[in-house]
């Protein structure tokens, strides 16, 4: 098999997160504009300077990336719209990187953003996917909570993980979020509060669920020479993978698509799980974080619970995980939830993460997971980022 080409020469710059809001009267267009402007301002660029643009959003309807070009005054030679939810960030990054390597674009803006009106979460659920309308929503209409409750139930039965194990993930992320001024959750969370929380869809309770909110995230991709010429600090892309509809024969999802490509990711990145200074998993529910920690090679299948029991997942700990608080504590801003870990990892490696900075971070793993089309998440992605000091 032909090995895929490296991402040499790629620079990731100007991470920007627009502070999230629980509810917003603004539109997805507004939130996307805010994030785009945030990145452009920090890079000293104008909208005319970018010739590549990719967007991910659930609440942009009836517009797509096409409508946004005219709305936002962009004139790109390369345009993409990535409907992959939680996997969008890494997928946007690797596509943008290839466009830049091939010369199809010089500077690509990768944006994700969604609004959250009082009723928009319910409205979004009602038109999520055909299989969901046909075969999942009619069963209690619990939305993702009910789907992930089923996966969590099976995972706990199969591997003996307990609610305490999942609770430790959530509690550590809350501790991280308290150091992130943009996080929606501002109050500390104890393990007993987690365990005694209101049940939502057994075994899922209130603090296993993300808070839907409005927000947006952006970063830019360009050639390293371009970044150097403009004097922009950047991080590099050491490796990246994506996979869709992996393991369709598994009766219930206990692993994701990462397992198919994980060796290639670490080979390409010339690195290993032990070398990671921080890990950003997609955390719509803690069971999915546990699954990623296994599937990305930090421990064997089914052993995430015991692996994490010996670890401190806060930013000062030995396994810094979802350093901004992740979606569980910073909020889930629709498709921006697929960018939150990536944008935070870029800040970490640039040394600009502020209150959540992991000291001396030079390598980070970011992974994405998205789109419960029927009974499982279909899209998975992961990337290894490195600071230029190594």
């Amino acid at each position: 098999m032909r090995r895929r080409a490296s991402y040499d020469g790629i620079a990731i710059v100007a991470p920007h997160s627009t502070p999230y809001q629980r509810y917003s009267i603004e539109t997805a267009h507004w939130w996307i504009a805010k994030a785009l402007r945030g990145s452009l301002n920090s890079a000293g660029l104008t909208p005319r300077d970018i010739d590549g643009f990719t967007v991910s959003s659930f609440t942009l309807f009836p517009d797509t990336a096409v409508g946004l070009t005219q709305h936002l005054g962009l004139c790109p030679s390369w345009l993409d719209h990535i409907p992959m939810g939680g996997a969008s960030g890494v997928v946007a990054l690797r596509r943008a990187a290839r466009a830049v390597q091939a010369g199809d674009a010089n500077i690509v803006a990768c944006v994700a953003g969604d609004t959250n009106h009082i009723d928009s979460f319910r409205m979004m659920l009602s038109s999520f996917s055909r299989f969901a309308s046909d075969a999942s929503y009619p069963y209690g209409y619990g939305g993702p909570n009910a789907n992930f409750a089923l996966l969590t139930d099976r995972y706990m039965q199969e591997y003996g993980a307990t609610r305490e194990d999942f609770g430790r993930i959530c509690v550590a992320q809350r501790e991280n979020a308290l150091k992130n001024p943009r996080a929606v959750m501002k109050k500390p969370l104890s393990l007993s509060q987690y365990l005694e929380a209101r049940p939502i869809a057994d075994p899922i309770a209130l603090f296993d669920c993300v808070m839907p909110c409005a927000g947006s995230e952006c970063f830019l991709v360009m050639h390293q020479e371009e970044a150097e010429r403009r004097g922009l600090p950047f991080v590099t892309l050491a490796g990246a993978i994506e996979r869709h509809n992996a393991h369709p024969q598994d009766p219930i999802q206990l692993r994701g698509g990462w397992t198919m490509d994980i060796d290639e990711l670490w080979n390409m990145a010339k690195s290993s799980p032990d070398a990671m200074d921080l890990v950003q998993t997609y955390d719509d529910y803690p069971v999915i974080s546990a699954m990623q920690i296994e599937d990305l090679g930090f421990c064997a299948k089914g052993e995430a619970a015991s692996f994490l029991r010996d670890k401190d997942m806060t930013i000062t700990g030995d396994f810094p995980h979802n350093t901004s608080g992740g979606q569980l504590s910073a909020g889930q801003a629709g498709a921006a939830g697929g960018f939150i870990g990536l944008v935070e990892a870029i800040r970490q490696l640039l040394g600009s993460a502020g209150g959540t900075q992991v000291k001396g971070a030079t390598q980070a793993l970011v992974s994405g997971f998205g789109m419960i089309n029927y009974d499982r998440g279909v899209c998975s992605s992961a990337a290894v980022l490195k600071a230029i000091t190594i």
Partner: protein
């Protein structure tokens, strides 16, 4: 076992009647094959004609070999629960008002993995049997039942949301004069109906089925003439708010097609009872029943039309009568659209020739009133929309599905004679 349902308390008019909310209705076109199967109580899945893989959720192309030749095929319903949850909160009002709601993931022995409702008596990771039922949106849902019958299992609150079970409900039979009225009333009472109202037209005129009706407890005879709008409206005022199941058995029947009759007299009577009678009942009782489809244990739940199977394809010996039932069947489809938003179900119970005076010249087999009553109760208990009683009706429906135009030619042959 399931906790048996208690008879509902007397309605408190000061309290809010639960709104007739519904579970989600939106489905793909491919999915509607499952709803059509549920309307008849069948468990069927799409099966690939080329590689024989059963598909779920419904598709437009085989998920295994890309063939687009997928046929709805009856499927073995056994499987095993892999995971379960109890949904305690939902953004959909229907489930919010009915939480907690048990659902699960079932691995079907036939292959597909199915997210489904789970009956309260199913054991964790236990063996189950899936049934395909219509929910209050009128769309199919799959429900896992324990593989062995459990006590009072039909009283499970989730299952009851899918059925039109007469237990603790109040039924109206529109025409006491029909030969089938005593059998229908008796079957409803045996199935747990709390009262059966029976309509009487021209109350001054005696009729043979009156005495057997009066022998039963919990029967109330009421003046009701489906050919008289005033009479129907008046009775709606009396019992419209407590009719949970309406059974329209009113029928006017004479032999012959257009040429066998000298004029349109009988045809007008047939239309007056069989078509306009249904329309009058619907206009009067329909709105009252639609407002009460979420009203607790004795909510309004089903509208039953007893139709000749020759509503599907004309029987020339009863040509004009068949035409009036074709009109009634078409109106029942319109009523389905009218009632669907409220979750009120229209069940058409199709029969071949019935054992009565007017069918004496027709050879057997004929449908006895008790058989008709059994089909009706089974249809209600399974929440069906379409059910066929007796061999003639089943045979004709099969031929209709096979090819309606071939059936029409079979039905209208003149015969070679000598």
């Amino acid at each position: 076992m399931t906790t048996p349902l208690s008879p509902p308390p007397k309605k408190d008019p000061q309290k809010r009647t639960l709104s007739p909310t519904r579970p989600p209705e939106a489905r793909s076109r491919a999915f509607l094959g499952l709803s059509a199967a549920a309307a008849e109580g069948r468990f069927a899945l799409q099966k690939c004609s080329e590689c024989a893989t059963f598909q779920y959720p419904p598709r437009d192309a085989c998920g295994s070999c890309l063939s687009t030749d997928l046929k709805w095929t009856d499927c073995a319903p056994e499987g095993t629960i892999l995971a379960q949850t109890t949904v305690r909160t939902s953004t959909k009002l229907f489930f919010r008002e009915r939480a907690p709601w048990r659902t699960g993931t079932v691995q079907l022995d036939a292959g597909p993995v199915i997210i489904c409702h789970v009956h309260g008596d199913c054991e964790r990771n236990g063996r189950v049997k899936l049934i395909n039922r219509l929910d209050r949106s009128g769309q199919a849902v799959l429900l896992a039942l324990p593989d062995k019958r459990s006590l009072n299992m039909e009283d499970d609150p989730q299952l009851r949301e899918m059925t039109s079970d007469p237990k603790h409900r109040r039924a109206l039979i529109t025409d006491g004069r029909q030969d089938n009225a005593p059998a229908l009333a008796k079957a409803l009472l045996e199935a747990g109906a709390s009262i059966v109202f029976v309509g009487e037209s021209e109350t001054w005129r005696p009729y043979p089925t009156r005495a057997p009706l009066l022998e039963m407890n919990e029967i109330e005879l009421l003046p009701l003439d489906v050919t008289d709008s005033q009479s129907v409206l008046k009775q709606t005022g009396e019992i419209g708010g407590k009719t949970d199941i309406l059974i329209n058995n009113a029928r006017f029947l004479r032999a012959g097609g257009a040429l066998a009759r000298g004029d349109t007299g009988f045809a007008k009577d047939e239309m007056e009872v069989n078509y306009f009678g249904l329309m009058r009942l619907a206009q009067a009782f329909g709105p009252a029943m639609c407002a009460r489809t979420a009203d607790g244990v004795n909510s309004a739940v089903a509208w039953v039309n007893i139709l000749s199977v020759h509503a599907l394809s004309n029987l020339p010996e009863f040509g004009c009568f068949s035409a009036s039932h074709a009109a009634a069947r078409s109106l029942s489809q319109s009523l389905r659209a009218d009632f669907r938003g409220a979750g009120l179900r229209v069940m058409n119970l199709y029969v071949g020739p019935t054992e009565d005076d007017w069918h004496q010249p027709v050879p057997p087999p004929k449908v006895m009133p008790a058989a008709l009553a059994r089909s009706m109760i089974q249809g209600l208990q399974h929440g069906l929309e379409e059910t066929y009683c007796g061999d003639v009706a089943k045979d004709l429906y099969e031929r209709f599905l096979d090819h309606p135009n071939v059936l029409e030619r079979e039905m209208t042959l003149a015969g070679d004679g000598a």
